[in-house]
Symmetry: C2
Subunit: 371 residues, 2 copies
């Protein structure tokens, strides 16, 4: 029923060894014979058995992506980018949703890590200790692990320039006259939230008579923003920075419901620039992150840092996907690269503030209240 390499060899009148070489190491076979075998393979509709190949080469041709929540537009975009790049390189992608659960994260990495050539762990909620354990005990030594949105010694990573994004946002608000700014943070364990807080502190140090109010931690979802909205209203700030757009949208909605005008009374800034940011009114001022590029960079760095041989499919498959392979070939622009020769490389993804309608000049009333 199913065509095996033996069948091809028999039909082509060569040994299985030669057939194998003709398809996956073409230079080792005499040109005439090679082409003949390839033709026969095509005619018979031969498809190499991945399990058999994997068993002997140890490579699966699969990568794995673990995200906290597939439904979150931020992660959906990352997944889309990663998937596209992986496919362009000849890999299939296993996707897992960790449901914002640190324990589930390690479990998934453990399970899936055993059947892939590399793992991309996006915005892990787990602790550094657990992260350490992953690299050591859970994963095989030859399965590289790459982090997105998190730095950890010994692991390659792709991170967003959080500090710079926050800096741009704060500068923008400061220029509009805001002097008392709230920060609505993300989940407690979130590394990027910690980064942004640090960036916020650093940015505000350089500005005169600015006051930063920590509004606390919230789930990075619309619902979290609704809760945060009340704190915003109560805190007397004239502007608020949200950990991400979903949170910002929730704040926007709550403020509107309470009759607080945006941006007249309070300015709101998000982070990520998800599609929904332009759907609401006022449209959300936010920090835009090139998510597709981030996804590409993640795959490329994983392959490179882990020295994963890009799926050297059979000559057959290679020909099939050649066009495909170049379609997405735009190189990821790595804004910066840190790390010495020994340290694993990290790529820093630059971000950009995009000013829309949710930010405006600080209200006089609040300014007076302040003074």
């Amino acid at each position: 029923m199913v065509v095996t390499l033996r069948d091809v060899a028999r039909a082509a009148g060569v040994s299985p060894a030669t057939a194998s070489r003709a398809l996956s190491a073409p230079d080792l076979v005499a040109p005439a014979r090679r082409e003949h075998v390839q033709q026969v393979a095509r005619d018979l509709g031969y498809r190499p058995n991945r399990a058999a190949r994997e068993l002997i080469t140890g490579r699966t041709g699969n990568l794995c992506l673990v995200v906290p929540d597939l439904e979150n537009p931020f992660f959906a975009a990352v997944a889309k980018g990663v998937q596209a790049r992986a496919r362009a390189l000849g890999f299939a992608l296993l996707v897992a949703d960790a449901e914002e659960d640190p324990r589930l994260e390690s479990e998934l990495v453990g399970h899936l890590g055993a059947q892939v050539d590399g793992v991309i762990l996006c915005s892990p909620r787990m602790t550094d200790a657990e992260l350490d354990r992953l690299g050591k005990d859970v994963l095989d030594d030859d399965v590289p692990l790459l982090l997105v949105n998190r730095l950890h010694s010994g692991l390659p990573s792709v991170v967003i320039d959080n500090a710079d994004g926050i800096r741009q946002a704060v500068t923008h608000l400061y220029a509009l006259g805001h002097r008392r700014i709230g920060y609505a943070g993300g989940p407690v364990g979130s590394w990027s939230d910690a980064q942004r807080r640090r960036g916020l502190e650093h940015a505000s140090h350089g500005l005169r008579s600015i006051d930063v109010v920590d509004l606390g931690h919230f789930p990075p979802l619309f619902g979290g923003g609704v809760a945060a909205g009340d704190l915003v209203a109560a805190s007397g700030v004239t502007a608020v920075l949200a950990h991400n757009d979903l949170l910002a949208l929730g704040i926007l909605s709550r403020l509107r419901a309470r009759g607080v005008r945006v941006p007249e009374d309070v300015s709101v800034v998000g982070y990520d620039d998800i599609p929904a940011a332009t759907l609401v009114s006022p449209a959300l001022t936010t920090v835009t992150v090139p998510l597709a590029r981030l996804g590409r960079a993640a795959v490329d760095l994983l392959i490179e840092a882990g020295s994963v041989p890009t799926a050297t499919e059979s000559a057959l498959a290679a020909a099939l996907t050649a066009a495909e392979r170049t379609r997405h070939a735009t190189p990821p622009i790595t804004i910066g690269t840190t790390g010495a020769a020994t340290a694993p490389p990290s790529v820093l993804i630059g971000v950009e503030l995009v000013v829309r309608a949710s930010t405006g000049v600080a209200s006089a009333q609040s300014s007076e209240a302040r003074g």
Copy 2:
């Protein structure tokens, strides 16, 4: 370095055959010996090699999901549901994004179908002929294919009750006094769009002096809705049904930009009830689809119809995931089941209109203009 079954066997003082049985067919081994082997396996940290197992059993323990666009919140939600259910049943999930391209769809199913136990194809854009070819030539006979959001003879499927959703929406608008209703359709090849058009026609037949205006086909995205918005304004309808929420949101946005008030001047109804539907104002009246349930149903039906043995992991792994397996064990509520003994089963997922702020009583002005 890596522990193999031989190692376990040697350490336990039994043959590889017995070790294998102790782990994956426990009843064939004497209790004492069985427990001993399992203990040794645990101590040694034995993890069965999936490739080797797959080679001989032919089962991979993977499922595959192909969607037109991972970033579309509708598909993201489906993917989340499918992933969760797959994992609960012990499967890993390969996810592929077809980029709304029918050709890419078949290519992906072909590539990935070779390395999974089943394929879920969501909202395929391909023609019926291509779909036929998939089942026959592209996929192995023992790899079941399930469709979501599409019916096709010979293939099991999970579909939304499009006709009923549209009927509910039309009835709602009719009750509000609307007599001239526009329909902004989805992509040309979309099966669900065809369904909804048919449902619309059917529903309107039953209502007196109602007038349905076909506004054409649009990409099922926000941008498509912006274009549709102008047609809505020009067509003189008092209400519009959009093929999905993204489209509806685009229409909403465009109408607002043109000074058309919603719902005072025009009522807008979406479909799907994506999260963003509640984020805008006026909040979108729409047809809510239980997407998580849909995802679950898809996996369950695929397993059942394709008689895919649920990954009978080794006793070891089974024990590990036992808790996990029950966590999501809520049975999918299949609203209805069609199909005779020979025809593959289909599950119909019921939907429900949720009325929000984007629909209201038909404006007197437009009513007069009509009369």
